[in-house]
Subunit: 354 residues, 3 copies
Amino acid sequence: MKKSLVALALTGAVFSAYAQSSVVIYGTLDDGIIKRTGTTVQEGKRDNNKLGFKGVEDLGSGLKALFQLEIRFEPDTGTIESVTRPLFQGQSRVGLQGSFGTLRLGRGLTAFQESITAFEPWSGMPTPAGFQTDLQVAGYVSTFGSGSDPLGPTGNSGNRFANSAFYNSPVLGNIFQINTTVGTKENDGSTVALIGRGTAAAPQFPAGAMGSVVPYSVSVTADNGPAAMMLAYERNEVDTKFWSVAASFKPLNELKLMASYQQQDQTETVLTNPKTKAWLIGVNYSIGVGKILAGYGQKRPDNDFDNPALVKTKQTSLGYEYNLSPRTYLYLEGTNKRMATTLNYYAMGIHHNF
Amino acid sequence: MKKSLVALALTGAVFSAYAQSSVVIYGTLDDGIIKRTGTTVQEGKRDNNKLGFKGVEDLGSGLKALFQLEIRFEPDTGTIESVTRPLFQGQSRVGLQGSFGTLRLGRGLTAFQESITAFEPWSGMPTPAGFQTDLQVAGYVSTFGSGSDPLGPTGNSGNRFANSAFYNSPVLGNIFQINTTVGTKENDGSTVALIGRGTAAAPQFPAGAMGSVVPYSVSVTADNGPAAMMLAYERNEVDTKFWSVAASFKPLNELKLMASYQQQDQTETVLTNPKTKAWLIGVNYSIGVGKILAGYGQKRPDNDFDNPALVKTKQTSLGYEYNLSPRTYLYLEGTNKRMATTLNYYAMGIHHNF
Amino acid sequence: MKKSLVALALTGAVFSAYAQSSVVIYGTLDDGIIKRTGTTVQEGKRDNNKLGFKGVEDLGSGLKALFQLEIRFEPDTGTIESVTRPLFQGQSRVGLQGSFGTLRLGRGLTAFQESITAFEPWSGMPTPAGFQTDLQVAGYVSTFGSGSDPLGPTGNSGNRFANSAFYNSPVLGNIFQINTTVGTKENDGSTVALIGRGTAAAPQFPAGAMGSVVPYSVSVTADNGPAAMMLAYERNEVDTKFWSVAASFKPLNELKLMASYQQQDQTETVLTNPKTKAWLIGVNYSIGVGKILAGYGQKRPDNDFDNPALVKTKQTSLGYEYNLSPRTYLYLEGTNKRMATTLNYYAMGIHHNF
C-alpha cells in the first residue's frame, strides 16, 4: 500500500526515516542521611543527581556530530534540581568533533568550571564537604552579581553559560589543551534587578537587562601523567572577573595531591572590598576498595588580608568512599567550616552511576 | 593520541567510563472519554500515566544496586501530573537488594500504600471508579492535614513519603513479608499553613514548619497462594494515624475476592469527629480475554456511626477490561457514589503498557 | 524463594511483568547564532528541539497499539519549550492502527496543522524565516482568541488540540487520505479571560470558561507522486474558523514547488475586520549535498484588501542547508519581513537528528 502525505508524516513519527541512532542513557542517583549544625536529621544528596541522554554520530573523515541532554533532579523529593532550575540543568549541547577539536553550542559548564573539578578532592561535588562551590571559586558562584550566569533566573546554577559556544582543542604536544567558552550578552531569564553600583531606584542592571560585556571563559590544562596543571580566566556578563591556578601530582598510583589558588574581582559591581581570594589543598588516597578524601582551604572576602573586620572562612573536610563496584559506592564524610559561625556537617549515603 | 584532562572529561561525558548499564524504559499511557454528573464530555485518564527509567546492577555475592525514576504526566494535555507535581512523581529511589531484603532511599509510595493496592478491585488506579484514593484509605489522602505527606507542596500526592528510607524484608517462611518506610521531620516543600488545632493567627503548623513526629509506615503481608492478608499502620509527620486490615481469596484461578477495613485518626489536628472508618468488598473475574471488576464500599467521616448529621459515602462500581494483548486493553466502567450529592461517572478508553 | 505480595510488586517495579517493549528514543537538537533587527547577536533555535519516546506493539491480525511522548526544550538555556509549555509539548498520544486507519487519543498537532507542513518551504519549522507560524495559517496561531487551543494556558502552542481524538484514514485509491481531529469543550488550562465581543467586565470567555463549540479539524490530502494537494478546514473551541488549500509539484526529483492560500474568520469573537487572508509560494531545490529553500508570501489582516489603513505583511526568505549526513546539517538563512516595521533576520547553525 502506497503511503500518502500524512501517512508518511505519521509513519515518520513512529519509525525514524534515518537509521536509528544509539542514544546512551546514563545518570547518577546519590542520596543519603545528613546532619548539620542547627537542623534535625535530613535526607539529601552529596553529588548532583542526573538522568542524561547523549549520542555520537560518525560523519566520516574523522568528523563526528554529538549531542548531550542532562536532566538534574532532587532524589529525596523527586523534583527537578532546586525545584525551579531548567529541565536540562546539567547541560544541553550539540556540536561537532574532529581533528580541530570539539565545538558545541548551547548551555553547559564553562571552560573554567569544567576544568577545575580535576583539582578538587571531592571532584567538584556540591556537598558542603566539597570545596568547589565556595572556596575553589573564591565565592564566585554564590554571590549575586558574580557567578557564570548573573543575569540568569534566580537560583540557577552559577557554574554555567547559557547561549554560548564551547570549544575544546585537541591535546597539543601530548600535553596541553585549550578550552574556551564564549557567550552572548543576552539576558538569560533574570527577572530581578542587580543593584550593583547603582541604587534601588536606578539599579546597575534592571530586571531583564542585557550584559555589559561579552562573557567568556578560558582554561589551559597540561598533563604529563603524574603531574597536571591548570590556568583559567573567566569574566561574566556583568564584568566580574575570576582567575585560578591549580595543580595536581600523583607520587603513587593510589595517591593524588591537589592544590589551587583563585581570585575574584567584582570591581565593576561592588564598591568596597570587591576582591576575594581563596586557596585549598587536598588529597585522594585509594586503599583497597576504599578511597580517602581530605582537604583544607581558606577564603578571604577582601584584598585586605590584615583587616580583622573581614571574616576568613576556614574549611576542613574528610571523607571515605567504599566501592561496591566501579559504578556504586557507599560514603561517609564530615566537614568543619568556620566562618562568622561554625558549620559542622556529617553525611552517609549511597552513590550509584548507571 | 593521548587524552588530557578536559579531553578525558569530555570523552567521559560522551562515553561512560564504566560498562554501559542496561537502563529499562517503561511506562503506561491511559486515556479515554469521560462523562460525569454535572460536566460535559471530557477526555482524561483512568490510570496513572508514566514514563520510567530503572536498572539493576549485580554487585556479586547476591547483592544488587537498583534505581528507579518515574515521570508522571497527563495524557490529554501533555503536562506533568496535575501540572505542578514533581517531575519524578511516581518515584525516585536508589538502594541495595540482598539476602537481607531491599533497602532504598528517596521518595515513593509508603509501605502501606504500596501493599494495599493488591486488595482493591481497581488495583489502586486513581479513577473515580476505583476505591483506593478515598474509601480504602478512609479519606486519609484527600484531607489536608492527613495523607502521607501533609507538609509537602499543596496538590502533591498524599500516598508518598519524601526524604525516606524504604525497607522490604525477604519473604519469610515462604509466606510473610514486612515492609517499613521511615521518613524525616523535614518540611517537604509546603508553603501553606496547616491551622489544625491552632488558629489562623497561630496555626498548628505554620508554612514551612517541620513535622511534630518522625513519620513511618509499616505493613505485614501474608500470602499462601489462594489466600492473602495485610495488616498496616502509618502515622504521618503531623501525627495523623491510620491502620488497615485487608484480605483476598482466590477460590478459582479466574476469581479473586477482596475486602478491607480501615480507620483514620486525626485527633492531633482535628477537634471534632477526628476519626473516619471505611470498608469495601471487591471482585475480579477473568472471563476469556476480558476481566470484570466490581466493588462496593462505605466511608463514615466520624467515629459516631449513629450521628445522622454526618453523611456516609456509599460507592458502587463496575468495570470491564478487554485485553488486546498482555500489554494493552480497552476498558469501560461506571460508578455511582452517593455522598451529600450523588456522582455518576462513566468512562471508556485504552490502557497501554510499554 | 517464593515471592509474596509486595515482593511481586517490587519485582514488577524493577522487571516488567510483560515482555520488554522496544521503546525508540529520538529527537532533534538545533542551535545557532541569530541576528535580528534591533537586537544584539543571540543564540537560539531554528527548528523545534525535541527528545521523544515512542513505540509500536503488534497485536496480531494487522492491529497495532502505538504511543508517542515528545519533550520539547530550548537548546540555549536548557529549559522546557518557552519555559512554561507542557513537558510533552510535542505530543502525548496513544492509540490503535489497523486496516481502518489510525485512531489516537491525547494532545498533538491538529489534522490541518499536521498536513500543511508538507506545503511550506521550511517544512513548518518555527524560525522567523519560515512561513508556517504566521503566513501559512493567516495569523491563526498568533492572535489570542484564535489558534487551535485558545482556551489553553497562555503561551501554549496554538497548533494543537488537547483532549482530542485523532483519526487518519488509510491511503484510499493509492492517492487520498482523510485526517480528522475532534476535541472536547473542556477548558485546557486557560487562566486568562478572552474579552472577545464582550467587555472587560463581562468577557465573552471568562477565565476557565468552556468552549462554545466542539472544536474539530479536517484535512484531505492527495498525492500521486510528483503532484500533491491539500484541502483543510478547522474551527476552534471559540468558533474561529480557518480553511486552507495547498499544492506541491515536483517537476524534477531535486525540485519541489509549493503554494498555499488560507483564510481565517474570527467573526464570532472580533467585531471589526475579522477576516485574514494569506498566500505563499515556495521552492526546495537539492543540489549536491546542499538544499536551497526559498519563499515569498503575503498576509492581509482584513477582508477589505483595499483598506490602506490595514498593513499587509510581505515576507521573503532564503535558506541553505549543507548536509553532513542524513541526520545532520549546517544551515544559513535570511528573511526580510515588511509589516508596519521591517524585520531582517539572519541565522546560521547546526541541526542534528538522533
